[in-house]
């Protein structure tokens, strides 16, 4: 074929002219396409990515569900097949109290959370003719993991399907932005399962680990449900040491326990040791000191501690060990574990610097005490 004569091509693509209709079509067609269908094209591309993440989430949820069911069947010998009952648990929901209540909703939230915990414990117990406290707390935590993963999957699926149904690209944007954070949380939950199955200490347990060491060789007394305290002495100060009862997988009831101990023993200062979320760029296991009640959760325990401290004018000091979400709920890593002695030393320094001899100091180790006794 002879290509030496390019006049025909020139005619079609208008390299020499400025009004070729074919060339105009080539330029205008994509513009028209993107103006009218741009969002749909973006929706298709974004949907593909979200679908991939959604199937990963579903996999996490299915794997964690199967792991829990197998754990119960193989290790705990339940009464009959627990699958149906467990599947019902995974769908449990909580309706939060009306938040326009002028009288305060904290007592209502507190009641709701405790009722949920108590009911779940009873339901777990009812699945076995014989089960010890450690296993009950482990199963409760594992149930919480599967329920959260199921909820995350359901929410992501709902937002995705709604956007698809409405063919609405802007509706999918918030989901696209939130998905990396949701996936980070989901992966952390999935990775937490082995530690909970074997009752190994998790990163969140650094507070109970520090205070548990201070409680060794002291008489332990019950402060509240799954919460213990003991009395000790340091440099002429009376120490009241409080933590969840280990090695169970529980955070105890630090709010109620602090209330009753303050009413009974009237401490002069409160020191709280807890794990705290690190900011990006901060080192895992770095220690920070501050003021205020260092305690996470839904907020009811913090409210109780703040209220009783304000009532008796007791200063609250905090000492936190920084870590990521994943570090906090998976097997305690070496960086965090290696800080135990350092944190304990800082607690003793805080006691000396902020109290006088003959005064009383309440030290609270906040967090899940799984795998950490006292």
């Amino acid at each position: 074929m002879d290509f030496s004569n390019l006049d025909i091509l020139d005619e079609f693509f208008g390299t020499g002219g400025d009004s070729n209709p074919f060339m105009m079509l080539i330029w205008f067609l994509p513009i028209i396409l993107f103006v009218f269908y741009g969002q749909r094209i973006q929706l298709i591309i974004t949907s593909r990515e979200i679908k991939k993440k959604m199937s990963e989430l579903e996999q996490f949820r299915n794997d964690s569900r199967n792991e829990l069911i197998n754990y119960i069947k193989q290790k705990l010998s339940p009464n009959g097949d627990p699958t149906e009952k467990l599947d019902r648990f995974f769908d449990y929901f909580t309706i939060m109290p009306v938040d326009i209540d002028p009288n305060g909703i904290i007592p209502k939230i507190h009641h709701l959370v405790r009722s949920r915990e108590d009911t779940t414990r009873k339901q777990v117990k009812s699945m076995f003719s014989e089960i010890n406290t450690l296993e009950i707390t482990k199963v409760q935590n594992l149930l919480e993991i599967v329920t959260t993963l199921q909820l995350l999957h359901k929410i992501v699926r709902h937002l995705f399907l709604t956007a698809k149904k409405q063919n609405n690209y802007p509706l999918i944007l918030p989901l696209q932005m939130m998905l990396p954070f949701i996936m980070e949380q989901a992966e952390a939950l999935k990775d937490a399962i082995p530690a909970f199955k074997q009752a190994q200490p998790i990163g969140d347990g650094i507070g109970p680990l520090v205070v548990g060491g201070m409680m060794l060789n002291t008489k332990k007394q019950k402060a509240e449900f799954e919460t213990v305290y003991s009395e000790s002495e340091f440099n002429g100060r009376k120490l009241i040491l409080l933590k969840a009862e280990g090695p169970y997988a529980t955070v105890g009831r630090p709010g109620e326990a602090t209330e009753s101990l303050i009413e009974k023993l009237k401490p002069n200062i409160i020191i709280m040791v807890d794990a705290a979320l690190k900011l990006e760029g901060e080192d895992t296991g770095s220690i920070a000191q501050g003021f205020g009640a260092a305690i996470g959760g839904i907020g009811t325990d913090r409210f109780k501690i703040e209220a009783v401290a304000a009532k008796y004018n007791i200063p609250i000091l905090a000492l936190v060990v920084r870590q990521s979400v994943k570090d906090a709920i998976t097997l305690m890593n070496k960086e965090i574990s290696d800080q135990t002695e350092n944190v304990r030393k800082q607690v003793y320094e805080m006691i000396t610097d902020n109290s006088n001899p003959n005064q009383t100091v309440l030290v609270i180790g906040v967090g899940n005490t799984m795998g950490v006794a006292q």
């Binding site: 200490p201 060794l216 998976t330 097997l331 305690m332 890593n333 795998g371 006292q374």
Partner: protein, 59 residues
């Protein structure tokens, strides 16, 4: 990618409360921190678990 190649192994650190001799062993089920393990072979003190932690091996 690096996360997928990480294998985390749990260890326990045991220490005699008298001579402070330490030994590191692989975690076995039933271990927990401050659990009394046995009498110390060198000084007859009480050996307890002082730490349980995970160390990652990158493959």
């Amino acid at each position: 990618m690096s996360d997928k190649n990480k294998i985390i192994t749990a260890y326990t650190l045991q220490q005699c409360n008298s001579c402070k001799e330490q030994s590191k062993q692989k975690f076995s089920e039933g271990d927990y921190v401050f659990k009394e393990i046995s009498k110390c072979s060198s000084c007859d003190g009480q050996v307890i678990i002082t730490k349980i932690f995970g160390e990652s091996l990158t493959q």
